[in-house]
């Protein structure tokens, strides 16, 4: 369409024709509309998020005012809205996070090392890889049923049945596939040239992994594991099945930590679930307060992960 320019030599006519060609025909509406659509999509998701958080923060204000931050954060669960707090939920969730990191970190990392560094590339290992990726997407409630069967019923002599141990184990199994995936991604990000360098000076596979691959992948692994912890922290459905529903820790002064581990328990998300179904109007604000606390904790965990990722980001 556009003719060739600059073949006529110089002069004002040529300059004018070049100017017209270069300045184009004005506004490109199609690309403007496309751009507006993209911005709109972003805004929609963002608006819902902000609305969600804002509505909960506003709804929680009466509870904070009536009870005070410390009282809500530390009080045990109660059916009396004047006394109810989320202390036990926080403790229950923390114990479960401890169990989750104790299990999913070593097992997930070891599994990922095998898959990435040792497993031969054949049908079996590719199938295993696909299965693990699919397991990561299995609805959490399915893991709850699994936990109910294995940890609450079959392993009852070890876990004590519907205890915080069973809850922690169930969550650990839930995040295990994700731990493996994030670790495998971090291992894969270590360039092949580094492995070759190790092998080139006569290192064995394990020496290469231990001295080079793992240390260089560690920040990525750590970040990924922390993010999976955040996921586990907010998980509700499996815990409802393995007994956190209306339970609460025994708090009498003569009850030991072991008794707490083997007794009834609750967690942050199950507490929110319970409270949201209670009839008293005061619980509506208390539920919002618990939600705000849960969100703050998850945001904090994510912030730590992002900080670690940026702090140890490695350029190859």
């Amino acid at each position: 369409m556009a003719g060739r320019l600059g073949t006529l030599g110089s002069g004002p006519e040529v300059q004018e024709s070049v100017r017209r060609a270069l300045e184009g025909t004005g506004v490109d509406w199609r690309s403007r509309i496309w751009e507006a659509f993209l911005v709109f999509s972003l805004v929609v998701s963002f608006v819902f998020l902000v609305w969600l958080i804002a509505s909960q923060v506003i709804a929680s204000i009466p509870a904070w005012q009536a009870r005070g931050v410390v009282d809500i954060l530390t009080s045990p669960t109660s059916s009396d809205p004047e006394k109810a707090g989320i202390g036990q939920g926080i403790v229950g969730s923390m114990i479960m996070m401890f169990i989750v990191s104790l299990l999913s970190l070593p097992i997930g990392v070891a599994g990922a090392i095998y898959l990435e560094e040792y497993a031969p590339d054949n049908f079996a290992s590719r199938t295993l890889n696909t299965v693990i990726r699919n397991l990561a997407g299995v609805p959490a409630v399915v893991y709850g049923i699994l936990g109910l069967f294995f940890f609450v019923i079959v392993a009852a002599p070890l876990t004590g049945g519907r205890t915080v141990i069973s809850g922690g184990l169930t969550l650990a199994v839930l995040v295990l596939p994700i731990s493996i995936i994030v670790t495998a991604e971090a291992l894969r990000a270590v360039p092949a040239s580094i492995r070759e360098a190790g092998f080139g000076v006569g290192a064995t596979r394990w020496e290469v992994i231990r001295s080079h691959v793992l240390p260089y992948a560690a920040p990525g692994i750590l970040t990924g594991i922390i993010l999976t912890l955040a996921r586990a922290f907010g998980e509700t459905a499996p815990l409802l099945l393995v007994g956190a529903v209306a339970g609460a820790f025994a708090t009498a002064s003569n009850v030991s930590f072991i008794d707490q581990l083997l007794g009834p328990y609750t967690s942050m998300p199950t507490l929110i679930y319970d409270w949201s179904r209670l009839p008293q109007p005061e619980f509506r604000s208390l539920t919002a307060a618990a939600i705000v606390v849960l969100l703050v904790i998850i945001i904090l965990i994510n912030a730590v992960a992002i900080y670690l990722r940026n702090r140890y980001a490695r350029k190859w």
């Binding site: 360098a197 000076v201 290192a203 001295s211």
Partner: protein
């Protein structure tokens, strides 16, 4: 056993490193011993003893034959260059000399590579032990993202070196002609050095484990001409102690910096094969095969 004869190149004579003579003699003595043990019947009438004897060697990736029917011998304490067009399998061949190609899952091979008379691909041979004796320098400088000191010390430590590590690090860095540039920053990461320095650090890392052979896979392709010249000078210096095999795309480099040159190209089936091999001066001035002549004169490839 005949004494290993050296032809000192003018460059090597000028820039000989301190103390390299003695350890060179020790390595040469060790090599003669290994040959005696392994059965030195492969050496024949070549001017220098050979380190490798390759016979009827083929390398495959899955069903694809990357190199076919290679027969050659690699002389000791010489620099042997592999030249040829892209995709002719020079790097694959080089990586078979220290079983680096084992790391490619679909790679397999047939035929034999004898190292001082021992078949490298014998079932009883441990590739880790092979790589301790036959070191490697890669195309892209790949120092570990650790300190310069640790880069050099790692290989020696895992191979059970019990001596003074600081001394070994200094000696290796001196032999790689990089000591003066890094002696004040041994704690700094090796990745912070310039490309040419990184590559010399990688050479120091390779020689710290006292290998017998050093394989260099286009070591200068990522470097500028000045850094390239430094590496070439270094190769002449190292030739006294090590046998060096180098793959290069740069024909001037092969002409300048090698004693022997093997020209490889690929056939209709895309499998690389060796056209001819001989003293570098012969290959570049008086090649026997017309393909070689076309390649070294720039008419093809």
């Amino acid at each position: 056993m005949t004494e290993v004869k050296q032809e000192p190149s003018p460059i090597a004579a000028n820039v000989k490193a301190d103390g390299s003579k003695e350890s060179g003699r020790r390595v040469a003595a060790m090599q003669r011993m290994k040959v005696a043990v392994g059965g030195g019947d492969q050496t024949g009438a070549v001017a220098s003893e050979s380190v490798f004897e390759v016979s009827n060697f083929n390398a495959y990736y899955g069903d694809f034959r990357a190199i076919k029917d290679i027969d050659m011998s690699i002389p000791m304490n010489r620099i042997t260059a592999f030249i040829g067009p892209s995709g002719c399998g020079k790097s694959t061949l080089l990586r078979c000399f220290n079983r680096m190609n084992d790391l490619v899952p679909i790679a397999h091979n047939s035929g034999r590579i004898l190292y001082h008379g021992v078949d490298l691909y014998d079932d009883k041979v441990d590739p880790v032990e092979v790589r301790r004796r036959i070191g490697m320098v890669f195309q892209k400088p790949n120092p570990f993202p650790k300190s310069i000191h640790e880069n050099v010390a790692f290989g020696a430590r895992i191979s059970g070196y019990k001596g003074n590590m600081d001394e070994l690090v200094e000696r290796s860095l001196r032999r790689a002609a990089i000591w003066d540039e890094v002696k004040d920053k041994l704690k700094q990461p090796g990745t912070a050095l310039s490309g040419g320095q990184q590559q010399r650090l990688c050479i120091a890392r390779a020689i710290a484990v006292e290998p017998d052979v050093i394989l260099m896979d286009e070591p200068c392709s990522a470097l500028d001409p000045v850094a390239t010249l430094k590496i070439e000078e270094l190769m002449f210096e190292l030739r006294d102690e090590f046998t060096i095999l180098i793959v290069t795309h740069n024909m001037q480099q092969a002409a300048r910096a090698s004693d022997e040159t093997a020209f490889l190209t690929m056939g209709e089936d895309r499998a690389g094969y060796m056209v001819e091999k001989g003293p570098t001066s012969e290959i570049f001035t008086n090649p026997k095969n017309r393909l070689t002549e076309d390649y070294v004169s720039g008419r093809f490839g």
